[in-house]
């Protein structure tokens, strides 16, 4: 055969409505339990954060010269996770890949929530969080602006641009679906969805502008995603810190973000698939496609990692060698090995097999391991360079306290709770896009096969 036809069947609109909208209206006890658990973790993390704000950062394991520890590696990790949703959706929309339709919404939502979570970490790690607004470019009586020469300001601007773009990119395409929900809902939910739907009716003008807008946003947001991850890498790359000061970090962070983000997209859609019985919509076909993208990301990630590795290894610059050695032969050796194992040695060969890529359970387990590996990768970027930086008289080691570990659980719980709430607000599969697919697609008999044909502009 060799050919997978997508989607294998075209469902009537009513059934799509029923399948996809059901999670918005029907709430099971499982949802409540999940909300309770993740909400509890979220509140505990929040309490930890406020505790640290109230008592001082001495409750963390940070000290001189390890000024950035788990907080920043969590930040980089979650920023990375936020990458793939909007990026994959924008890329596929721009390339008019029709198979994107069932996964874009879930992926875009992932971006927004991961970004909302990630953006908290720069605040968490501030010594005086309550004065965070000093970093914003605003007119004030002190006649002092922020320092546009600082990578942190670039970072803040990039996050704002990407967050703004991603929220709009998630919200505007959801408006037609809100209109559907409005038509199906009752009571308070109807009021809520009426508000969200903005009075959408589906006129020709509305559709034309929306499509144009989505296209423009996709065009604008895609490079911003690249710029944001690059700028995050510049938080490190602009410094004089050994093994941070490298030009490979830009693409390396972008591809690392794509890699971990893709893994999370797959994890999430698989969970949705099982939770809501969406086997009809999210099929092995999608896993295969996403798996291929992830395979490419994994290859490029390893390629760039190896670039970075061999440059330091061969160059043996004294400063860099110190950090290189503690990563590859010293106390961080096992972290490094775990990362390489899950991200390359296991992931690469497995992803090469279609049979593996199309197996939901296998992919689910692998993607989770990839993200553990990517979290370690962030840790290995941030911490080793700091523990033995500068005059060796000041070298130390770093042992995170319970505060840092709580605030490592916090983003996961926060992300989960946000996602769970979002399930009750919007359909996680874009209804109108699925339907558009149905309208646009037909089967065409060609020779002995019935092939899929697409009507396109």
């Amino acid at each position: 055969m060799g050919m997978i036809v997508h989607p294998p069947e075209l469902y009537p609109d009513e059934q799509i409505n029923q399948d996809v909208l059901r999670p918005v209206f029907v709430t099971t006890w499982k949802w409540w339990i999940l909300v309770a658990i993740s909400g509890g973790g979220f509140m505990a993390g929040l309490a930890t954060w406020f505790y640290m704000m109230a008592t001082g950062m001495w409750v963390s394991g940070l000290h001189r010269p390890v000024m950035w520890g788990l907080f920043i590696s969590n930040y980089v990790f979650w920023i990375g996770l936020s990458n793939s949703g909007t990026v994959i959706s924008a890329m596929l929309r721009l390339s008019k890949a029709d198979w994107r339709r069932p996964i874009t919404r879930a992926a875009e939502a992932m971006t927004v929530f991961a970004l909302l979570i990630a953006a908290q970490f720069p605040l968490i790690h501030l010594g005086r969080t309550w004065l965070f607004y000093y970093i914003l470019p605003y007119v004030n009586q002190r006649q002092l602006w922020n320092n546009f020469r600082s990578p942190l300001v670039w970072d803040m601007m990039a996050i704002m641009a990407y967050l703004g773009g991603s929220i709009l990119y998630l919200y505007l395409p959801t408006v037609p679906d809100f209109a559907i929900l409005r038509d199906h809902a009752e009571g308070i939910k109807k009021k809520m969805f009426t508000l969200f739907a903005l009075g959408w009716r589906g006129t020709r003008r509305e559709w034309t502008t929306l499509n144009a807008c989505i296209l423009s946003l996709a065009l604008l947001v895609l490079p911003v995603a690249v710029s944001m991850h690059t700028i995050v890498s510049w938080d490190f790359g602009m410094t004089l810190v050994p093994l941070w000061h490298t030009s490979i970090f830009g693409p390396y962070f972008v591809i690392g973000a794509l890699y971990s983000g893709m893994a999370l997209v797959i994890t999430i859609i698989l969970i949705l698939r099982w939770a809501f019985g969406w086997q009809k919509y999210i099929t092995p076909f999608h896993l295969d496609k996403l798996g291929k993208i992830m395979l490419v990301a994994a290859l490029v990630w390893f390629y760039l990692w190896f670039n970075d590795y061999i440059t330091a290894w061969y160059g043996k610059l004294p400063d860099e060698k110190i950090i290189f050695d503690i990563k590859n032969a010293g106390p961080f050796y096992w972290w490094q090995m775990t990362m390489m194992l899950s991200n390359t040695m296991v992931a690469l060969p497995l992803l090469a097999f279609k049979k593996f890529r199309t197996s939901p359970w296998a992919m689910f387990i692998l993607t989770i391991f990839i993200n553990i590996g990517m979290w370690i990768e962030r840790l290995l970027i941030v911490v080793p360079s700091l523990v033995q930086k500068g005059p060796s008289f000041t070298w130390t080691t770093y042992h995170p306290t319970w505060v840092e570990w709580m605030l490592t659980v916090y983003p996961l719980a926060g992300f989960t709770v946000l996602y769970l709430l979002f399930v009750k607000v919007a359909p996680l599969i874009s209804v109108w896009e699925i339907r558009e697919d149905k309208v646009a697609c037909a089967t065409k008999k060609m020779g002995q096969a019935e092939l899929r044909a697409v009507v396109a502009e």
Binding site: G202, R204, L210, A212, C213, S216, L220, V221, K438, E457
Partner: protein
């Protein structure tokens, strides 16, 4: 007497397109006819003049404006309050290029979104014609009629074309 919309819901796209064809043939002006759909159909299928969108141009324009603003804010604040830091120029072009780009994108993104809302005339609080079946995928033709004669005419034309359900919506 206020205008009345005739709202006709069809099962089939072809039937809806046929209804529009009949309306146009009966001299209903194209600007009074619209179609409400649950999915974006290619505009050509209705036989009505396709609406045009300027979103991309507006986004591009604001991208440029944003770029100008970004560079002005970055270099202007530096120039007004020159604080030397670590032998980086007060107007550090490479650094300000980044700010310029991010400002441009923020402007472009928000301009695109706002322009979309303006162009699509959303959000609206107006009492506009709608049929609840639109969200179930029924293409729905709306015709704006000024007098009762036209209303009846339009309704019969649309029913002839195969409209499943016809409503009258007074504005």
């Amino acid at each position: 007497m206020a205008d009345v919309y005739v709202v006709a819901a069809f099962c089939e796209v072809d039937a809806a397109a046929d209804g529009i064809k009949r309306l146009l043939a009966a001299d209903f002006p194209a600007r009074n006819i619209d179609v409400l759909t649950g999915v974006p159909y290619p505009p050509e299928i209705w036989g009505l003049p396709a609406p045009r969108s300027n979103i991309r141009k507006i986004a591009a324009l604001f991208f440029v404006i944003g770029a100008a603003c970004g560079f002005t804010v970055a270099s202007g604040t530096g120039w007004l309050y020159p604080l030397p830091t670590g032998a980086k120029a007060i107007i550090s072009l490479p650094a300000y290029g980044i700010i310029t780009y991010e400002f441009a994108t923020i402007f472009g993104v928000f301009a695109a979104a706002i322009a979309t809302l303006l162009e699509a005339r959303l959000p609206t609080m107006k009492n506009l014609p709608y049929h609840p079946r639109v969200s179930e995928g029924w293409p729905t033709v709306t015709v704006r009629c000024a007098d009762s004669q036209n209303i009846d005419g339009a309704e019969s034309l649309l029913r002839l074309a195969g409209a499943q359900d016809v409503l009258r919506h007074a504005v």
